[in-house]
């Protein structure tokens, strides 16, 4: 019998000393972390901690001032076109073109991600069915509720089956049923090997779906470690210590 050799999952994303200033102040400072395929990373931090700036840089929407981003082993800053197939991004508040219908949105996103013809139609039908968007398919994005916009944004992010899913506060405006469905969806994506970065204010979301948590404070990474579903109290303690004292180390905080 051939002994089974543990195979470490591929590193899909590696950030090295990433920094970015916004509005004249450092929003992210020397951020380094790596993410494996299938891993779900929860990104926590108070408002202004640098979560959205970090996710915008990972998604390719914002260029860092310094540092490097390796996507699937390649230099993402040199080759921003890698985002096209590899990354799906749901920005905060899910910006949409209000004059297009849900179906037109999905088609436009699919074309931007290189899908066309039958492949695009199949991908669109699959994601519309998975996210239960059929009743909204012909509705204009401009008249959707915030929760519906969020689901459409999520559908656009998932349409091309990305290897890395970047979700910026995806549970915003979702009702409890939809939030539970989102958790199921994230677990499904993880099971198929998609790496997920989830930024949220909800600690319960993190303990429910993430297998690792990173906490940002004033643009720097203050905590990065694994998490288990029964770790909620410990995570809450760590989060509040960092939010209030800037560190999870009681000795240093004192």
């Amino acid at each position: 019998m051939t002994p089974s050799i543990p195979v470490s999952p591929a590193t899909i994303l590696r950030l090295d000393q990433l920094s970015r200033r916004r509005a004249g102040r450092p929003a992210v400072r020397n951020l380094s972390l790596a993410l494996q395929s299938g891993q779900v990373l929860g990104l926590l931090g108070v408002n202004g901690a640098g979560k959205s700036t970090t996710l915008s840089m990972i998604a390719g929407a914002l260029r860092p001032d310094s540092g490097s981003i390796q996507l699937n082993g390649e230099d993402f800053l040199e080759r921003p076109e890698l985002a096209r197939r590899l990354i799906g991004w749901l920005p905060e508040r899910a910006p949409l073109w209000g004059e297009l219908t849900v179906n037109e949105h999905l088609d436009a996103h699919g074309r931007l991600r290189g899908l066309n013809g039958a492949a695009l139609r199949l991908a669109r039908c699959a994601i519309v069915e998975r996210l239960e968007l059929q009743p909204l398919a012909r509705r204009l994005a401009g008249v959707l509720s915030q929760g519906q916009r969020q689901r459409l944004g999520l559908a656009c992010a998932l349409l091309h089956r990305p290897a890395l899913l970047v979700l910026d506060e995806p549970a915003n405006a979702l009702d409890p049923v939809q939030a539970a469905a989102l958790r199921t969806l994230i677990r499904e994506q993880s099971a198929t090997g998609t790496a997920v970065i989830l930024s949220t204010h909800l600690l319960t979301e993190v303990t429910a779906v993430c297998d690792r948590v990173a906490i940002l404070h004033e643009g720097t990474l203050r905590h990065d470690g694994p998490i288990h579903s029964d770790d909620h109290a410990a995570l809450e303690r760590t989060f509040f210590e960092i939010a209030m004292h800037g560190t999870s180390d009681p000795a240093r905080a004192a």
Partner: protein, 256 residues
């Protein structure tokens, strides 16, 4: 197909779709075509009324000079208002809605975003031109059209629309609000048209100031005279405006 072509086509299709579902494009098309059709009937009426006098002047102005080209001249005047209104949201609208990062995050370079948006607007403007041209062409069987002169005038209008669209897209790229983009495009277009007015009033008909003016390059084309210099002027203006737009949009990823 190359990535550049696919990207540009995807952006152009997206912009075209947004153009055709917005009421603004339809309202502009309906109002301007109605205005042009009304003027066409007036020009045609004038042409028919003067037919007997002109019969005594062999080689005098015909249907093309008295109806088709003046109609295109009116379209050129309307273009100063229509093009800024059509292009104002091309990039500024995306910036305002927060949808611009979606294009960057899809790995689409700034040059392809600008070109895609430009081509969509240009396609709409060319359709507008074709519908206007259809009015005199509908009478081609009953009149003696000067095809060469009409083709030169149509080429001139195409180049003018292309140049105004490029200026409009560039203004939209620099502006934070569509209304500011429209105002800027209108002012730049009017300045390009009349930059030599002072020189002409002073009786100066040559020189760099006259070369800079759009009117200097459009009017010969409307008279049926095609010269490389005039074509080059329009091509240079389009290239300059699109290059500036690309540079500005590219820096959006660097800025806040």
């Amino acid at each position: 197909m190359s990535d550049a072509f696919i990207n540009t086509l995807a952006v152009a299709r997206l912009e075209w779709r947004r153009l055709v579902v917005r009421p603004l494009a339809w309202v502009l098309a309906a109002l301007t075509l109605a205005w042009l059709a009304w003027n066409f009937t007036l020009l045609l009426g004038g042409f028919l009324a003067g037919q007997i006098q002109r019969a005594a002047l062999p080689g005098g102005p015909g249907f093309t000079d008295l109806v088709a080209v003046p109609l295109l001249g009116q379209l050129a005047q309307l273009a100063f208002l229509v093009v800024p209104l059509l292009t104002m949201s091309a990039i500024a609208g995306d910036r305002r809605n927060g949808t611009l990062p979606l294009l960057f995050a899809a790995g689409v370079p700034a040059s392809h975003i600008v070109l895609g948006r430009y081509l969509a607007v240009l396609a709409w403007l060319l359709l507008w031109l074709v519908l206007t041209l259809a009015m005199p062409l509908a009478l081609a069987h009953a009149t003696s059209l000067d095809w060469g002169k009409l083709a030169a005038a149509a080429l001139g209008l195409t180049l003018m629309l292309a140049a105004l669209a490029a200026v409009g897209v560039a203004s939209s790229t620099f502006a934070s609000h569509p209304a500011i983009a429209a105002a800027a495009a209108l002012i730049i277009a009017l300045a390009l048209w009349g930059v030599n007015l002072g020189a002409q009033m002073a009786g100066i008909n040559g020189g760099a100031i006259n070369w800079l003016a759009m009117s200097t390059h459009l009017q010969p084309l409307l008279r049926g005279l095609v010269s490389t210099t005039d074509l080059l002027w329009f091509v240079l203006l389009v290239a300059l405006a699109l290059a500036l737009a690309t540079h500005r949009l590219g820096s959006d990823r660097e800025r806040d």
